[in-house]
């Protein structure tokens, strides 16, 4: 998980209603800030007080805060809104002039995706997370990391795939064996994608506590003490045929299958053909009435 901070580019934090991701975002922000980086935060969903809550002052002092919560759409018309709205705020972050490694936190990408066209957002994200951010900028190459909080259930497969293709790392939050876990998918250029699952917990001061990993992703609930039951054992019927049995089965003519031999036999009954006979011995009480009981039917 700490590799997330080492690699640059776009990191998607995918959370859900059940497993919220803002705590992890704040934990990663805290780590970045304590490493001496400057952290830019574009906050759309919670107030500044609520976002800064839990951070101590040396973290808070390194945060550059862009408040899109109070008036994102300029409804109040008091001039307090961020000029240019959400896109203006993103461009302002793009144009920042500080040097050194930088972390940009977007809380949340979902809010931006609901309010901006997907293509425009993707282009801006691409511009944000590239190391040489602004064309014509003569400052040295900077390590830029963009952490985007994304609420999975709010978007269709198209925008999600677009963001996934832009991201170097995707962290999906869920629960493994009763513990919060992060499934980390890393896609670095010219390298094979890697998967990893990391159990973690976040302490009240937003420090990240990593726990020893769980077993690999497949079969999380297999109990090692009970041997798997073989459903093929102890059957009362035969499931397989031997070769001889299969030959015999294939050569069998079914009674109602109409083949040319049967046709010939029916058309020209030979002397050797067995015909069926019915032997009937009437009892003493049998009433043999020669009349046809259906005679009176007028068909």
């Amino acid at each position: 998980m700490l590799d997330l901070l080492a690699v640059g580019g776009l990191v998607l934090l995918r959370d859900s209603v059940e497993w919220e991701g803002r705590s992890l975002l704040k934990a990663l922000i805290k780590k970045s800030a304590l490493c001496g980086e400057q952290v830019h935060i574009l906050s759309c969903e919670v107030s500044e007080e609520e976002f800064r809550e839990g951070f101590d002052s040396d973290v808070n002092n390194r945060l550059v805060y862009y408040d899109l919560f109070r008036d994102p759409l300029n409804w109040s018309k008091t001039g307090e809104a961020f000029p240019g709205g959400p896109l203006g705020a993103l461009r302002a972050i793009c144009k920042r002039t500080d040097s050194g490694p930088v972390t940009i936190a977007l809380d949340s990408l979902s809010w931006l995706l609901l309010h901006l066209p997907c293509t425009m957002l993707c282009q801006t994200l691409h511009a944000l997370s590239r190391q040489d951010v602004c064309p014509g900028d003569s400052s040295p190459v900077r390590q830029v990391r963009v952490l985007g909080l994304l609420h999975e259930e709010l978007h269709g497969p198209g925008p999600m795939a677009a963001l996934s293709s832009l991201a170097q790392t995707e962290v999906t939050l869920s629960c493994t064996m009763g513990q919060a876990s992060a499934h980390i998918h890393c896609q670095r250029p010219r390298q094979r994608p890697t998967h990893q699952t990391q159990l973690f917990s976040i302490l009240p001061d937003f420090s990240l506590d990593l726990q020893e990993g769980p077993p690999p992703e497949s079969q999380p609930h297999l109990d090692p003490h009970t041997p798997p039951v073989d459903p093929m054992a102890h059957l009362t019927f035969n499931l397989r045929l031997s070769n001889k049995e299969r030959e015999a089965k294939d050569s069998l003519t079914l009674p109602f299958q109409f083949s040319s031999e049967k046709q010939q036999a029916l058309l020209h009954p030979g002397p050797g053909q067995t015909t069926s006979h019915i032997f009937y011995e009437p009892d003493a009480y049998d009433d043999l009435d020669q009349e046809d009981p259906d005679d009176d039917l007028d068909i």
Binding site: S47, G54, L73, E153, L154, Q179, S201
Partner: protein
């Protein structure tokens, strides 16, 4: 249920009618001496009044003394068409051909709950109650417009005025209503408390009307393991609702 300030409570119902929760919160906050703005889009004033009287509150008196600001959607939607257009009506969007935004409704809420400083009886924290948001989608509003309306209400009511919000959204469950799902999930992410009334999986029952799932979100302090979700079953009676643990209804014990 303790009334903490600045919280958004989301009520949702699936395969059952969760309006009993709306009536509960309305009477709860009125009895707690809070100033309540009720955006009632589903039923008439007299309906809520009759149920409120069973729960011990008189909505007419609350409205007269200024404690309750009631937007009766059914009645005032007609005014949109017959009222002179001096200022935008809260339900102005009903007139518009294109799906606009809910800014007039937000301005109405903001005006209704802003504190008055002229020596009147001071009410406790302001409360916004909405019944319900799903109908706004049916009336042609886009889901982003409804989410923006709730966002601005959160800023004004929860953040500026330190009040509370309670909104009801229906869960369509089987019916594939993508917009409603986005609305429900989007609000769930913003909520501190989610109360979900569900019909029983086995069908209708006379003694157990449904099941209530309570989910706490956005704890102020992140903790590793915590009981964040509870489930109770309930039976709605004439003047109250009784809750019991799953399978422990007095009718079956």
């Amino acid at each position: 249920m303790s009334a903490e300030a600045g919280k958004l409570t989301l009520l949702c119902d699936v395969k059952t009618d969760g309006s009993f929760l709306v009536h509960h919160f309305l009477s709860f906050y009125l009895k707690a001496n809070c100033k309540v703005c009720f955006v009632a889009l589903i039923q008439s004033f007299s309906h809520y009044n009759i149920v409120g009287q069973k729960l011990g509150v008189n909505l007419t008196m609350a409205r007269e003394r200024g404690q309750l600001v009631f937007l009766e959607g059914l009645k005032s939607s007609v005014d949109v068409f017959f009222q002179a257009q001096k200022e935008p009506h809260p339900l102005q969007f009903l007139r518009e051909a294109n799906a606009g935004n809910l800014q007039p409704l937000y301005e109405f809420v903001r005006e209704a709950l802003k504190p008055v400083n002229n020596g009147e009886a001071a009410w406790r924290c302001p409360v916004l109650l909405v019944d319900d948001l799903s109908v706004l989608l049916s009336l042609g509003m886009g889901v982003v417009a409804v989410l923006d309306f709730i966002h601005y209400c959160r800023v004004a009511v929860c953040w500026e005025l330190k009040g509370n919000m309670v909104v009801l959204v229906h869960d369509s469950d089987d019916a594939e209503d993508e917009e409603n799902d986005i609305l429900l999930n989007g609000l769930s992410h913003q909520s501190h408390l989610i109360l979900r009334a569900e019909g029983l999986a086995t069908g209708f029952c006379r003694d157990v009307h449904g099941q209530l799932r309570i989910l706490w979100r956005r704890p102020s302090q992140p903790t590793a393991q915590r009981d964040r979700s509870l489930t109770y079953q309930y039976k709605i009676q004439d003047k109250s609702v009784s809750f019991f643990a799953k399978g422990m209804s007095p009718a079956v014990l």
